[in-house]
Amino acid sequence: MGTINVSKKYTAKEKAYLPAILIGMKITMKRFIQGFLFRKHDTIMYPEKKRDYSDRFRGMHFISVDKNKTENCTACYLCETICPAECIHIVADERDEEHNPYGVKKEKKPVSFDIDALRCCFCGFCEEACPKDAIKLSGNYELAVSSREEAIYDLDHLKRDMNGRREK
């Protein structure tokens, strides 16, 4: 089997390259004038200006709270069970009876609730599985951290008083 040469010969128009350069320069000048004189950009000045994503965007998780700032999570482990990336780790315990105005509804609580954001694939299954609407995915997409340990978020970090999926 020999090598098959598939390259074709340049046409006369292609050989005279100047017309193509001029077409390119025309586009460049058009964009320059649009951006410089009329302030029309396709990019944004991140991080001063943030991109506005749709409400369906799945960013970092949070755990919703009720009006007493108690987490809605009852440590049912459904999110941990469904998580395909195995990034959620819960430890459950009984809520102290004296500090439990909710009775049987919130007798179980998470002692620790860790999400490893580096493992997470933001599929949103946890939110779908949650029977208490406790774990939700917010619009927060700024998840840069300087070490792997910082990317493991605990209950104190995740507990948020939010307006739907957005910050209040």
């Binding site: 009852t74 440590a75 049912c76 459904l78 069970t81 009876e97 049987v104 007798e107 208490k132």
Partner: protein
């Protein structure tokens, strides 16, 4: 039970109302004997023993998965109140409860006809009118019969628009320090009431009031007092009764279930070890007609805590400057060998919680390895029991006086009991797995400890007396066999993998041999 190697035991005292030998019934080969009666279930004809109920015949031959049931439990008297197990019997005007209807010759039964399925859907809908939808919080979720049967037979929707019934004072009621009651979840099958009435015969529980207000209560102010409360939480079909020790610890679907033996007493109850990531969360009894029936006692149920105890020694410890230090098994045995060679007399005491294999190994191999004549004897020392002759039943059900699992098995190896329960030698090697007692000894007795010891137990010896600790494996972590009080030999296999530095007796002896 595949684990049992020998079956030479009298029938247990508790009469189990059960198709316990789940094997097909065979006709008597004697040609003059009457032929067995036949019943047709779902189009197939089966032989049965006269007296069997339809449920028992179906159970024996595994007709479909099982006939759904709430109130019926094989270990208890029949109540026939839940109406979940109804089946259609031809020529009978109404549906019959399969748990309480005796099978008759020539009977034709349909267990999954349209009429039956409609009835079961109706029963499920009524049970769910008041059952709270708190499965996420409920510990029973995943092993709940209400969940399973609702998935299979339930209507999926409900016509019930009213408020659900709530027992305000009994949502989280501690019936004792072991069992919690959530009355909202109860489906009133009364298994628990019949258990305390007929199995433990303590009459601890009773249903008060009727209809909508029917409620489970303890008969005395002390609450539940019997020794088998854990069983209530096993057979409760919903999460109404939950075991405090396991409550909220783990969801049932994460648990690994492996059969093993309880080593809490000489009964040798068959158990299932429920673990996740090699951490034990609970013991649950499994059915064995010859040994424990369906039950196990609370002491046995919580006996796993001594193996998951953070103070348990799980690495070889060697004495250095009168303090114990963790080391490798080779270093420890090399050091011990020097002490043992120089000792004038050595005594090996095998606790009666050693497996039969361990007892045989220690008796044969340890004297030859040390190269001396060693007095080998066994020691029990629990509840004042010295030999298996002292053992006796403490109640009608399962509890035994001897709190070690293998007294008979160790005696079988030809060992003699420790004279006066006191060691009397230069160095005593004490082998025990955390269940047998510690023999009496003089204040400056040098000891080598082998098996399962906790730091608390080590403190009972002056620290300079302990030459070394050889950490051993627990029943649930090793392989072996026990001979129980009734003379049944039961073989068991590891239910979990030991993650520490402890070694089985065979491994230790193997290393010890190579050092000589």
């Amino acid at each position: 039970m595949s684990n049992i190697t020998e079956f030479d035991i009298k029938k247990p005292k508790v009469d189990l109302n059960y198709a316990s030998d789940k094997k097909p019934v065979h006709s008597d080969p004697n040609p003059e004997a009457k032929p067995l009666p036949k019943v047709t279930i779902d189009g197939k004809t089966y032989d049965f023993k006269p007296g069997d109920t339809i449920m028992q015949v179906a159970e024996r031959y595994k007709v479909h998965e099982e006939i759904p049931r709430y109130c019926y439990h094989p270990g208890m008297p029949i109540a026939g109140t839940c109406r979940m197990c109804t089946v259609e019997v031809e020529k009978a005007p109404k549906l019959m409860t399969s748990c309480s209807t005796p099978a008759a010759d020539g009977m034709v039964v349909h267990t999954r006809s349209d009429k039956v399925m409609k009835s079961r859907t109706g029963v499920m809908e009524f049970l769910l009118t008041n059952h709270p939808l708190d499965c996420p919080v409920c510990d029973k979720a995943g092993e709940c019969e209400l969940q399973d049967y609702n998935y299979e037979y339930g209507p999926g929707t409900s016509n019930f628009k009213e408020e659900k019934r709530v027992f305000e004072h009994a949502t989280t009621k501690k019936l004792s320090d072991k069992v919690t009651l959530n009355m909202n979840r109860c489906v009133h099958c009364e298994r628990c009431v019949r258990f305390t009435d007929d199995v433990t015969k303590t009459n601890d529980l009773v249903m008060v009031n009727r209809g909508w207000h029917k409620e489970l209560e303890a008969t005395t102010e002390a609450g539940l007092t019997n020794e088998y409360q854990g069983c209530l939480t096993d057979f409760c079909p919903v999460g109404a009764l939950t075991w405090n020790d396991f409550r909220f610890k783990k969801r049932s679907w994460f648990l690994n279930r492996k059969p093993s033996l309880c080593d809490g007493c000489s009964k040798g109850c068959n158990i299932e070890v429920h673990s996740d990531s090699e951490i034990v969360y609970r013991y649950v009894p499994i059915y064995n007609e010859l040994v424990n029936g369906h039950w196990m006692c609370d002491a046995g149920r919580s006996s796993y805590t001594s193996y998951t105890n953070p103070l348990r020694v799980i690495a070889p410890l060697m004495k250095h400057n009168d303090a114990l230090h963790s080391t490798s098994i080779q270093t420890l045995l090399t050091d011990l060998q020097v002490h043992l060679k120089n000792a004038a007399s050595i005594q090996l005491v095998v606790g009666t919680d050693a497996t039969r294999e361990e007892a045989a190994l220690l008796k044969e191999k340890v004297p030859t390895i040390i190269g001396k004549n060693i007095a080998v004897s066994y020691f029990n020392g629990t509840n004042g029991v010295q030999t298996s002759a002292d053992d006796k039943k403490l109640d009608e059900l399962l509890k035994m006086k001897d709190l070690t699992p293998n007294t008979k098995g160790v005696e079988e190896q030809g060992l003699s009991p420790l004279a006066n329960g006191e060691v009397n030698a230069d160095i005593a090697i004490l082998f025990r797995n955390g269940r047998a007692g510690i023999p009496k000894m003089k204040a400056d007795q040098k000891v080598v400890l082998w098996g399962i010891w906790s730091q608390d137990e080590l403190k009972s010896f002056p620290s300079k007396n302990i030459l070394g600790v050889i950490a051993g494996l627990a029943t649930i972590e090793k392989e072996g066999s026990y001979k129980n009080a009734d003379g049944i030999v039961q073989k068991f296999h590891p239910a979990i993998t030991h993650k520490g530095g402890a070694l089985s007796a065979h491994q230790v002896v193997g290393v010890w041999k190579t050092l000589n």
